[in-house]
């Protein structure tokens, strides 16, 4: 069968991929620039085909707690929102991490703080990779740079969430959410049956059968000794993620003397900047972290043996730059260039900045 190539927005791609990968439930609340996810799902009516539940609910808080409830039953469930809504979800995300449940959370970022702007931004980087909610937890954060990756990471995100029993976040921005590109959607895979869930996720609350003790989904442990052990177990899990799940992409780095580090739509812009710089004889390269957590720390560190100057390009006031500085650990210079308030930097702007710093 020939591949089905379709033209769609990033947000639509997430919705279509969710239906196709056997998602059981989506719970959301409208907010620009991601409402097309809920709109697409409502228009597709997957409850009539795959049986997927789709609900527009009263708030982002309700939505994330519905995700907790569904995930606790071993179901493949997700929510999406944009920055202010993601702030509201933080308590729920922390509970999900604390109860070791799998789920997918999509943040199509807009500019803040506060109500801010509906224009694209990357200013929720810290919130996504440094916890966001309370307590010691991490989650894998995937940063798509194309509409294709919006679809692919929906599938991947669920897989990772179920592998580690931990929330996974797709951290996109308004550009990726709204732009249209040609993509190949993932193949259809059916939702898991009740029997499959019982076998695969024996911890889930689907009703206590006679042959086992009750299953309890909870993040609560009053005994500090037990709670410390539980936390150490979480830390071992996060370490496994750091060892196995780092994803990144390199562009023109083999002979690079200077390296741009950028994620999401900014990485697309920086790719163009690299081309322009090279036309001008500047050996510029690009590393695009795909997982913002775990961050490609060892990869950046390796590059310090030949590259002495890195540039963090972001649509915020300088957030990822801190992780780059930690990664290079003093072995290279790190400069930051960012635009704020929903302004997307141009490729030329980035090249001019690099030139001003290396002159």
């Amino acid at each position: 069968m020939s591949e089905e190539i379709e033209l769609m927005k990033g947000n639509e791609a997430i919705a279509q991929a969710a239906i196709r990968c056997g998602c059981d439930g989506y719970f959301g609340y409208p907010i620009t620039p991601q409402s097309e996810i809920l709109e697409t799902l409502m228009a597709e009516q997957p409850w009539k085909t795959t049986g997927m539940v789709v609900m527009q609910v009263e708030s982002e808080i309700a939505a994330i707690n519905m995700v907790y409830g569904g995930a606790g039953c071993g179901k493949k469930v997700m929510t999406s929102s944009s920055s202010p809504g993601i702030s509201l979800k933080q308590e729920g995300i922390s509970y999900i991490a604390g109860a070791e449940l799998p789920c997918l959370v999509v943040n199509v970022m807009r500019g803040g703080p506060g109500l801010g702007t509906i224009q694209p931004s990357q200013s929720d980087y810290f919130q996504a990779v440094k916890g966001g909610g309370h307590g010691d937890y991490n989650m894998i954060v995937l940063a798509p740079a194309s509409v294709q990756e919006m679809a692919d990471f929906t599938v991947l995100g669920f897989d990772l969430a179920f592998n580690y029993l931990n929330p996974v976040m797709i951290l996109a921005d308004g550009v990726i959410g709204q732009m249209m590109e040609k993509i190949v959607l993932p193949p259809f895979s059916p939702r898991k049956t009740a029997e499959e869930i019982k076998k695969l996720y024996p911890w889930a609350t689907y009703g206590k059968s006679k042959d086992r003790k009750p299953n309890v989904i909870s993040s609560l442990e009053i005994d500090s000794v037990e709670m410390e052990q539980r936390n150490l177990k979480f830390q071992r899990k996060f370490q496994l993620m750091e060892e196995n799940e780092i994803r990144y992409e390199e562009f023109e780095t083999t002979d690079a003397e200077y390296i741009l580090v950028a994620f999401g739509s900014t990485a697309r812009i920086c790719q163009k900047s690299v081309e322009i710089a090279r036309e001008q004889g500047i050996k510029l390269g690009l590393i695009r972290p795909i997982t913002l957590w775990p961050f490609p720390t060892p990869i950046l560190y390796q590059y310090t043996s030949k590259v002495k100057h890195f540039f963090s390009i972001e649509m915020n006031a300088g957030q990822m730059v801190e992780d780059i500085r930690l990664a290079v650990n003093g072995k290279a210079k790190v400069d930051f260039y960012g635009r704020l308030g929903g302004i997307v930097p141009s490729p030329i702007e980035v090249v001019e900045f690099v030139k001003s710093k290396i002159a």
Partner: protein, 258 residues
């Protein structure tokens, strides 16, 4: 001797059994204060789940509040929710597994303060769940602070001179509000302070469970309860105080049954 034995055996026949620990209630010692209503309601739930033979098909949601550990006592699958969010969890669980019985168990702070939105919207959507609502007029777990349901003049650690309407507003009678929502099917207010009241509450909860499988909307069983520790009263004194002061504000009986 054989005479006595045979007469004992005569007596301990199943048909003569008037009281036993429900099998769905496990042997974990309860953490509730002696005299607290929570324990009685737990026992009722255990009895009902056992008698209806739905142990394999029921999922409970524990709140944040004194009943946070409800899952330690009932031998069924349980989820523990963030403070106030139990109806959101229940909504998802029931929608994803409509063949299961799903109930929340919530205090008045959980249901009528921080969780007001989730409560109202779950009821308004007519989710086919059961909400067990323990209204003891106070925040028990955190040490006796004022609840949305604390009645006028009642003392708590955050209204030490009694609830003052001009300062704290009126007690929230949320059940009366829920009655008016199209999505609710059965709304009742009961108590567990006498054996007659316990029997009525049991019938109410049973009805709510049955209704939740008929797909006609949300069932709420409010149980006006005592928190003798938080109220700083003896269990008996708390019962009397409840009858005298809380029942006039929270009147006992069915509010809606369709």
């Amino acid at each position: 001797m054989s005479q006595t034995n045979s007469s004992i055996n005569e007596i301990i026949k199943p048909e003569n059994l008037v009281y036993k620990k429900p099998s769905v209630l496990n042997d974990n010692p309860m953490h509730y204060c002696p005299g607290c209503s929570h324990g009685v309601v737990h026992k009722l739930l255990a009895e009902i789940i056992g008698e209806m033979d739905i142990q394999e098909d029921v999922i409970g949601i524990a709140p944040v509040g004194c009943a946070v550990f409800a899952y330690k006592y009932l031998d069924i699958d349980f989820q523990q929710a963030a403070h106030g969010r139990a109806p959101a969890l229940a909504t998802a669980i029931k929608r994803l597994m409509p063949e299961k019985y799903v109930f929340t168990y919530q205090g008045d702070g959980d249901l009528a303060a921080i969780g007001t939105s989730e409560t109202i919207h779950a009821c308004n959507r007519g989710e086919n769940i059961v909400i067990i609502y323990i209204n003891n007029g106070i925040y028990g777990m955190t040490g006796g602070q004022m609840a949305p349901t604390t009645i006028e003049g009642m003392k708590s650690s955050t209204c030490p001179f009694g609830r003052d309407i001009s300062l704290n507003g009126y007690p929230l009678n949320i059940t009366d509000l829920l009655v008016r929502l199209e999505g609710t099917r059965y709304v009742t207010r009961q108590s567990v302070h006498t054996s007659a009241a316990v029997r009525k509450t049991k019938k109410a909860i049973q009805k709510a469970f049955v209704y939740s499988m008929e797909g006609k909307g949300t069932s709420i069983v409010e149980i006006v309860s005592t928190c003798n520790s938080g109220w700083k009263m003896t269990p008996e004194g708390a019962n009397d105080w409840m009858v005298e002061n809380m029942f006039p504000v929270y009147s006992i009986g069915d509010l809606k049954d369709i």
